[in-house]
């Protein structure tokens, strides 16, 4: 929202010496964020009003007109590009010798072979950019040749961020901002200038009959009929101010309602008084159509609140008037509406019909119902200066069935000071609150604070709200930072956090994986390329893009996509993501945290090696962070396109299956493209939620044995199809008092190992705490272990 400093000066004395940028900064810190400050400079001098005497064409130049002007005793002939000019109207004119920054000095010249003695100024030259190329018209009260006051053309404009005042209905007009500025500057706020309608009214004037069917949606409706208005230009000072705050001057009646909206924040609507008798406020008929004054026919639901007259809709309440009852060129009587509408109803209707206006934007903020009457009084004050024949044609009629509750907040000054962490005494609090319109009574060490109506619609209702008023006016920059004094409390560690941090530490800081963050929804296109159809999962009503509706149930599709992206720029890489995967169901329990790993290398045939090193990485992590060894179970139930039919294992930790490790089958890689087919990729996905109870227990370290121990290696030839785990189980059954440890060394297939067989090598450690083993002992142990191997049905490789 744009704020004119000239306008503020009507209500508070802002010293000329005050730097507007400094004021804007104080406003930002105290009240609302200022987004920008702009000085409006027109450099205008020598401008006068001129009456249009005639408008004629310029041969061959459709965009130009030959205009004769009456300059008051003198006349002038100019060629003008102004799109609309009407005989007898007064325009802002720059005669030769006058100047503005935009036009430079005006000289007598020749345009299209015609003499042109001056220039009819467009809005942009005198600081009304919204009027752009249009001529600016003067009100009929001005005389041809009358000098135009240049001071009103120069101004400063402060832009307030609308988002920072959504909760402050009082700040949607200059008077509310002026109240804040007055408090900041420590100056008084001048009373709001209004007409005394009672004094102007004749008791015999009729009431406007107003019926409100829905007092929740329309707590108050005020109206006043008046005659003696006509279509004419608004005073120039009003047009310039509207221009400075980004509104386009149109016509005195429209400009008046716009001006008051920007002044007090209260939207008003002027109906053609000859077409409206009484007012009924009620809900629309479902499916009713209504043509708003922008000429659009709109279909309404039964939720839309309508202003009706004689059961005929005349306005979409609080949003826009109707085309039929609009004020026209020949209107002499108007019915002025100033009402209060409930915010959420307006929001709903605006959303339903897809129309938002300056008026509805304000009603959505919960406006002060007391502004309905105040704005009508303001209108009469301003209008009577412009329309000499203005007469009231009704009493000020006011239906107020749903009165705003008065709010008084009990405030403990000590608590306020303590919560601020800053010494503020009671007197300072009272001064601050009084300056911004609160009524304060001090009693028994407590403050009883009466909230003014313009802050009471939703903004302020509890002590913390009053605290904010005090604290922001003290200035947050005046509060000395101080660290809290607290009692120590121990919190049990969050296992999710610990598990995830440990996983990232192990894989990314230690084991060479690079962490990525990927989107939590699937991309349908990519799934198609993978050849993957996920089971039903949670789907978005409003996806970021079509095809990105479903939330992921696995990290792998995203990681494989990232791998496909990275393969252009690297020959080998390892990726890691810790993220959320989802299951269908309206419960936050239907999600879990997974760890996804990918190890990729350019070149076919490295599957087995990557599979083995990835498992090695998992084992290192498990040992460091879970405190256990991992086991693998041959996984038979092939599940996804990225799972290999044979080279897949379930990962088991302490008896729990915690994930899967596999390699990407060639078929899947080929589905993506030929390039990925030439890569080897191993992957693992772990459900981290199952690891919360794992604890790394410190294992006792071994003493160096007192007597030397003997290490013997045994290589077993076993069927290539029989699993390692079964061999282990069999070896573990060997028992001897001198046995210390059996460890797995490695597997071998190839030369000297017959086809269909695999050689597994184990290292067996023998020793005694009492003596050095003799050669006979060792021979006996060797024979005994070999016998055990034979007993298990395994052949020994010599």
């Amino acid at each position: 929202m744009l704020i004119s400093v000239n306008w503020l000066r009507d209500y508070v004395d802002i010293p000329d010496s005050l730097d507007v940028r400094a004021l804007a900064e104080r406003l930002t810190i105290t009240t609302a964020e200022v987004e920008g400050v702009e000085q409006i400079q027109t450099g205008a001098s020598g401008l006068i009003a001129a009456r249009v005497v005639s408008v004629g064409p310029v041969e061959g130049r459709a965009n130009l007109k030959k205009v004769e002007l009456d300059l008051g005793g003198k006349s002038a002939s100019v060629v003008s590009a102004a799109p609309v000019l009407r005989v007898d109207e007064l325009v802002v004119f720059a005669p030769p010798g006058a100047s503005t920054l935009e036009t430079g000095e005006i000289k007598s010249t020749t345009v299209a072979d015609l003499p042109s003695e001056g220039m009819i100024l467009p809005g942009s030259a005198i600081g009304i950019p919204a009027a752009d190329q249009d001529a600016i018209f003067c009100p009929p009260s001005m005389k041809p040749g009358e000098a135009i006051d240049q001071a009103m053309l120069e101004d400063w404009v402060i832009e307030i961020d609308n988002k920072s005042i959504t909760h402050r209905p009082d700040l949607w007009g200059h008077y509310g901002i002026a109240r804040e500025v007055a408090a900041i500057l420590g100056k008084p706020l001048k009373p709001y200038p209004v007409a005394d309608i009672d004094e102007l009214s004749d008791k015999k004037l009729p009431e406007i009959p107003i019926t409100i069917d829905d007092a929740t949606r329309c707590p108050r409706y005020s109206g006043l009929k008046m005659t003696g208005v006509r279509a004419q230009a608004a005073p120039l000072w009003m047009q310039t101010r509207l221009g400075h705050v980004g509104l386009r001057p149109i016509d005195c009646l429209v400009d008046l309602t716009n001006y008051i909206m920007a002044d007090l924040g209260q939207p008003m609507h002027a109906f053609d008084g000859s077409r409206i008798e009484g007012i009924e406020v009620g809900l629309a008929n479902d499916g009713e159509t209504f043509t708003t004054l922008d000429g659009v026919e709109r279909k309404l639901s039964a939720e839309a609140l309508m202003i009706q007259s004689n059961r005929k809709s005349v306005a979409l309440a609080g949003i826009m008037g109707g085309l039929e009852s609009e004020v026209a060129e020949d209107t002499q009587t108007i019915l002025l509406e100033s009402a209060n509408f409930e915010a959420s109803g307006i929001r709903k209707t605006c959303a339903a019909i897809g129309l938002r206006t300056d008026a509805s934007a304000r009603f959505e903020k919960s406006l002060d119902p007391n502004n309905t009457v105040l704005s009508i009084q303001r209108f009469v004050k301003l209008a009577s200066a412009e329309f000499p024949e203005l007469q009231l044609a009704s009493r000020l009629s006011d239906a107020y069935p749903n009165k705003l509750a008065e709010i008084t907040v009990e405030v403990d000054p000590k608590l306020v000071a303590r919560t601020m962490g800053h010494p503020v005494d009671e007197k300072q609090m009272i001064d601050i609150l009084t300056a911004i319109g609160f009524g304060v009574e001090s009693k028994d060490g407590k403050l009883s604070v009466a909230v003014p109506s313009y802050r009471a619609t939703k903004d302020i209702s509890i002590q913390a709200d009053i605290l904010e008023e005090i604290a922001r006016n003290v200035g947050y920059d005046n509060i000395e930072p101080r660290l809290p004094e607290v009692q120590v409390r121990h919190f049990a560690a969050n296992p999710q956090h610990i598990t995830e941090r440990n996983a990232l530490r192990a894989f990314c800081l230690g084991l060479g994986y690079s962490e990525v963050h990927l989107y939590i929804w699937y991309d349908e296109e990519w799934l198609k390329r993978l050849g993957f159809k996920p089971q039903a999962g949670p789907t978005l009503v409003n996806p970021a893009a079509a095809g990105q509706e479903q939330l992921r149930s696995s990290l792998m599709p995203g990681l494989l996509q990232a791998a496909d992206r990275n393969r252009f720029h690297a020959d080998a890489f390892k990726l890691c993501e810790v993220g959320t995967v989802f299951k269908e169901g309206p419960d936050s329990k239907n999600q879990s945290r997974h760890l996804g790993l990918i190890s990729a290398r350019r070149g076919k045939g490295a599957d087995d090696e990557l599979f083995a090193t990835l498992k090695g990485d998992l084992e290192t992590w498990a040992w460091q962070m879970l405190g256990c060894e991992l086991q693998y179970e041959h996984a038979k139930d092939e599940a996804t396109p990225w799972t290999h039919e044979h080279k897949t294992a379930n990962i088991v930790a302490n008896g729990t299956t915690i994930g899967t490790v596999s390699v990407c089958p060639l078929a899947m890689r080929r589905n993506i493209d030929e390039h990925l087919a030439a890569w080897s990729i191993a992957w693992a996905e772990i459900n981290l939620d199952q690891l919360h109870d794992f604890r790394v227990e410190s294992k006792p370290l071994r003493r160096v044995p007192e007597f030397p121990e003997v290490e013997l290696d045994f290589s077993l030839l076993i069927d290539a199809t029989s699993p390692y785990a079964a061999v282990n189980d069999n070896l573990a059954r060997f028992d001897d008092p001198l046995l210390r440890r059996i460890t797995y060394v490695g597997a071998y297939e190839g030369k000297s190992v017959p086809t269909g067989k695999r050689s597994l090598t184990y290292r067996v450690l023998f020793g005694s705490p009492e003596r050095t083993l003799a050669e006979d002992d060792v021979n006996a142990l060797k024979a005994s272990f070999e016998k055990h191997i034979g007993g298990c049905g395994y052949e020994l490789r010599r």
């Binding site: 959504t166 919560t419 990927l518 939590i520 992206r565 990275n566 720029h569 309206p586």
Partner: protein, 357 residues
């Protein structure tokens, strides 16, 4: 063999050994020559076993003769060990003159955490030192935790500002980490100090400065007598530690339904140091995080008595902070999974000699 013949044989062996030792070029060769003569089975060593063949009165002399021959060869071995050793030392020294000790080391190829994670860990460390616990919460969240319990009822205008990803099952993707305020209060009660790093989602169009998926860290402190002065001090400390510079910060009014009063916290612009530039829209300040004193309704929703306890809360944009710290200009990089953007080249390629961006 009589003693005289023995002596002659030993002299001959001594001469042979002397020649062979002098010819040895390495310690290994030396060792095999030594073994050839002096080991149990060597040509001198094996003669030791013949002592018992001599008459007892001669054995003393034979022993002496053999010992001195043995000793003489051993001395030659020692002499040549020194010769070859010194030569190796000299060769080693000569070879080392071309060694450049200033070359960079050969690196183990380590991994890397995401820039957001790196910043997150720094923030966590600051708060752990202040006695805050670190909590977590779900990304698929209910309307109740994301809005209602946070004093944002149905039809509240603040819901407009929080463009939400809604799910067909009635749940939503959390728009902020704030729902975990309620969850943490339910879990721990008061007093409470916690932070909650996590992912949030907003339904908005992605461009260089807007993402629909980003990280925040929520902070919540509830105790008796928590003040605005405390909030300012903690925020200042956090930013100074994480950005490793002293920063001017300022609070100004900001409206968020779950706090009262609510603030926007700005820091002096990092680019222009507060003088005003394009990044800070000429204001000299950058909007960094919303914060405020916890609204009594939020305390109540979390089961905490607002008459007894109060507190502050804040929501720091981790993604934004990571972008500032790592100089990431385009936010789309963050969720791209593209390692060229996420990992500094020196990490993999070795030291960077010229870097022009």
């Amino acid at each position: 063999m009589d003693v005289g013949e023995l002596q002659q044989t030993l002299d001959k062996l001594h001469q042979e050994a002397k020649g062979e030792l002098a010819a040895a070029k390495t310690l290994d060769e030396l060792r095999s020559v030594r073994s050839k003569y002096l080991s149990k089975t060597g040509s001198v060593g094996s003669l030791m076993g013949t002592i018992k063949d001599y008459p007892p009165q001669q054995r003393g002399e034979v022993g002496k003769t053999l010992n001195s021959a043995n000793k003489a060869i051993q001395e030659l071995v020692t002499e040549h060990t020194d010769r070859i050793g010194s030569a190796e030392v000299a060769a080693d020294a000569a070879a080392s003159t071309a060694f450049d000790p200033t070359l960079p080391g050969e690196r183990t190829r380590l991994g890397s955490v995401h820039p957001v994670t790196a910043v997150q860990w720094e923030v966590e460390a600051v708060f752990e030192r202040l006695g805050f616990t670190i909590e977590a919460g779900p990304e698929m969240e209910s309307d109740y935790y994301n809005f209602e319990a946070l004093n944002i009822p149905q039809m509240h205008p603040a819901r407009d500002l929080q463009d939400t990803f809604w799910l067909k099952n009635g749940m939503l993707l959390r728009t902020q980490t704030s729902p975990v305020q309620i969850r943490a209060m339910e879990k721990f009660g008061a007093p409470l100090r916690c932070i909650v790093p996590g992912r949030c989602f907003r339904y908005e169009t992605i461009d260089a400065s807007h993402e629909n998926t980003f990280h925040q860290v929520e902070g919540l402190m509830i105790d008796r007598n928590v003040s605005i002065a405390n909030l300012i001090a903690v925020m200042k400390l956090l930013l100074n530690e994480v950005l490793q510079r002293e920063f001017e910060i300022r609070l100004r009014p900001g409206y968020f339904p779950f706090v009262e009063p609510g603030f926007e916290l700005d820091i002096a612009c990092l680019i222009c140091n507060g003088k005003g530039c394009a990044t800070c829209k000429r204001t000299g300040w950058l909007e960094l995080l919303p914060c405020g004193m916890v609204h009594p309704n939020v305390l109540k929703a979390g089961g905490v008595d607002p008459n007894e306890y109060g507190g502050f809360a804040f929501g720091l944009g981790l993604t934004r902070l990571a972008m500032m710290k790592f100089g990431i200009r385009d936010i789309r990089v963050v969720n791209s999974g593209d390692l060229r953007n996420l990992v500094h080249p020196a990490r993999w390629a070795g030291p960077v000699i010229v870097d022009k961006g």
